[in-house]
Symmetry: C2
Subunit: 489 residues, 2 copies
């Protein structure tokens, strides 16, 4: 039997009929027995809060449950299986790709109450957390002891580690340290049959298949994660943060390539263009210039002597590439202010536009100047404003397209522009998501980088784990009707 | 349907009947059409070379093929599927867990001719290689340009990168940099249906499932890897290597824990005990002391100033823990000599024993002194000599049990001692393999750390990829009859 005998589509859509009122009452009763009445939400008023995440998608769940333990999650999954209802896990709802949107309704399992740091083992450099732990809370627990958990998405004040695991989240410091998957040692999960499993946890090399690697970033489509063992690292002796101001995007891009080529890998190299700088400065007054074409925000850490030597070399490369100003944060306050500007950039854009749509393409670093020119050209063609704030060191672009959904046709133009941008990323040898995940937003674009055979083998893996398609259905895979666009080898 | 309704076993054993002479001739003809007559081996004389690897297992293949391209590999897999014959991929045969042993016969695909470095992209820090590239050859190509590929198994002068990917190999420098899976960005593979797929390759976060992570370390049971995209890194400005000599194992172990707890993570911390030191010194004359209880071989790298500061701190910790001598390699020659001693340790043991059996358990660093005492006690009880040479920083033990297979019953005692050692590793919260893989040797021990549910879900993944069990059959999973021993949650 050939696996290419018929074109690739997901299961027929929608695979789930909405719950009848009678069944819904039965399900609610069963869930209340598991988690208690207070933690099963089902009124329209309560459900409205769970309709959306940080993407532009929305859909209403039938029921929301807030379990307090792994055992409760397992019981919830068994109820969902019994009634053939979708189960969608949700962290803080900060996701940018629609991963937590219950497009076929069903039960949203939210981890608000499973927010405990269960253990920190400094000697063996690991911590065990529940999925609802807010990213920054773990660091607040670790930092006073001289340790840190590395992945730091810009939403780290709100987002949960469970959500980070689902989407394999990144952050500005992924350049040298890698994304979430590089920091997860093990998981406790609930399978689609309601079984509880422990996976990995003790060593670099897991005997058998590396299921931890498979599950991190699987966007809730294979299992529900109920516990996470993460790697922690000692804080560096010294950390220095600097900005370099450029009059052209090209100079800033060339600086990035040249720094990496010189053998220095800073912990972060972030780029912000003029539109973003103006929004950020109006919001945080960190001292970012308003008339520059681009600013690089860079950080390096390690032992004091090494950091100073690296900073000197970076400054020299910036100057060689016509940096107008290079400024090193004088103290921790100034450093925090520079980062606050960057980390609140998305929020700051809210000051200048009613809405925005953020893309998440990745390109080889050497292609940055070309791709940034294309983005600008595409948005001009669709009559849309765009700003860029992104992980330049990783080549991970985040064009923010500004729009107003009240203007008829504008959202459609935004989607088309977003799609064209990802087409360019794929065409230059890059990919369609660096850290936000595929979710609902990039299903069509999966076809830009995967062939039918690729998708079929992923689907086989999904079917092995989740045969009834109850876990976060309708995500990741291209939707029916898109099969003709699948990449040809 | 519950997934625990019947005890876990693999398919009935053996699932393949040996080829009849008539079919064998047909298969040989078909393979010769693909790879040419010179590259299809089938005489007993030729096959004898492919009966064994560096483990204590052996079995004869029916046919060995040496393909020259991915297309040939795909064609070979299609022939194997047509005739329902096992396919076992093989690198250099340096594996220590029997992964490349064709226990049910069939076709061994060896990558001797697919040994080309296809591309090195310094700007984007990646290299693309064929699976037959010898590990050290890649570094010989990179080093003159100031770059390196990190994973460095002790067999790196012989082992191939394809084999490293199959077993998720480690090496002394995994402590700070991670094992093979942390350095593989993408793969080209052939599926069990003979399809060619590209997986990952461009960015940290793969859209869709992280199949690269799943496939690295899957020991040839899911697919055949035909191309590998690896991460390369700039060479550090400075590297310093030192040894510290101790009169007790406890002092050496405490030194390891204290260095890590201090926040320094050296690139390598290797421990050798007295038996190993004596063997190594007789072999390489690196100046290792013969009367010490343990020596730590440590290396740190980075910018010059940072390295010097780290070395000072390490020396202070060693002295505090009663190190008798601390010696820093004065120059590159002395450094190479110290490493040559360590990397040839297994070979050196060949001088003092006809055979040896190496185990590969992992324990939390803090458990090292206890577990080393247990190993010594277990081997005394079985009247076996044991030496320890291992990645102490990772808690990755390599007890080498010396034996002589000519002595009746000795091999059986070795196996029993090895099993007891892994039981201890599992009991203290460790695991059964750090870098050598499960292969044939540790199938029974999988049950020490995995439950029935764990194994069933792995089997489901395997079945999704490899439904006819033709890829490296009889590896990884516990054999029938062992199900009663499976770990209970």
């Amino acid at each position: 039997m050939s696996i290419i005998e018929e074109p690739f589509t997901t299961t027929t859509e929608p695979p789930y009929t909405r719950l009848s009122e009678k069944t819904k009452i039965q399900v609610i009763k069963a869930l209340q027995e598991v988690s208690g009445k207070a933690y099963v939400l089902h009124t329209l008023y309560d459900l409205a809060l769970y309709e959306y995440d940080a993407s532009i998608e929305r859909a209403r769940p039938d029921i929301v449950v807030l379990p307090a333990s792994t055992q409760e999650v397992a019981a919830i999954v068994k109820i969902a299986t019994h009634y053939h209802i979708p189960v969608v896990p949700r962290g803080a709802g900060t996701g940018l790709s629609g991963g937590a949107i219950p497009i076929y309704g069903g039960i949203v399992v939210t981890f608000t109450r499973m927010n405990h740091i269960l253990a920190i083992d400094y000697e063996n450099l690991r911590a065990t957390v529940e999925p609802g732990v807010v990213n920054i809370h773990l660091n607040q627990a670790l930092n006073p002891h001289g340790y840190a958990y590395v992945p730091d998405p810009s939403s780290q004040r709100a987002c949960t580690i469970g959500g980070n695991v689902g989407e394999n989240a990144g952050g500005p410091h992924t350049l040298v340290y890698g994304v979430t998957t590089n920091h997860v040692l093990g998981l406790e999960i609930v399978t689609s049959e309601g079984e509880i499993l422990e996976i990995g946890g003790e060593a670099y090399d897991t005997p058998g298949f590396d299921l931890t690697g498979l599950l991190v970033g699987s966007e809730g489509t294979l299992c529900i994660v109920t516990k996470i063992i993460v790697r922690i690292v000692p804080l560096a002796e010294d950390v220095k943060t600097m900005i370099a101001v450029f009059d052209t995007i090209e100079d800033a891009s060339n600086t990035v390539s040249e720094i990496i080529a010189s053998g220095i890998i800073p912990t972060a190299i972030e780029m912000m263009d003029q539109l973003i700088l103006q929004a950020v400065e109006a919001d945080s007054h960190a001292g970012y210039p308003l008339d520059a074409a681009a600013v690089l925000l860079m950080e390096t850490e390690g032992m004091r002597e090494a950091v100073n030597a690296q900073i000197e070399e970076i400054v020299a490369i910036c100057k060689k590439n016509q940096a107008r100003v290079v400024r090193i944060a004088a103290d921790e306050n100034e450093r925090q202010l520079l980062w606050a500007g960057r980390k609140n950039a998305f929020g700051a854009v809210g000051r200048i536009s009613p809405e925005f749509y953020v893309q998440d393409g990745v390109v080889p670093r050497t292609q940055l100047p070309y791709v940034l020119r294309c983005i600008s050209e595409i948005c001009r063609r669709y009559q849309l404003k765009v700003g860029n704030v992104f992980h330049a060191g990783d080549g991970n672009l985040h064009p923010l397209i500004l729009f107003d959904a009240q203007v008829p046709g504008e959202l459609e133009r935004v989607r088309l522009a977003g799609h064209e941008i990802l087409e360019i990323c794929a065409a230059v040898g890059g990919t369609i998501t660096g850290e936000h995940g595929v979710g609902l937003e990039k299903q069509a674009e999966m076809a830009l980088i995967f062939t039918e055979v690729d998708l079929r083998i992923m689907k086989k893996v999904q079917t092995a784990w989740n045969p009834d398609q109850l876990f976060n259905p309708g995500k990741l895979f291209p939707l029916p009707g898109r099969c003709a666009d699948v990449k040809q080898l």
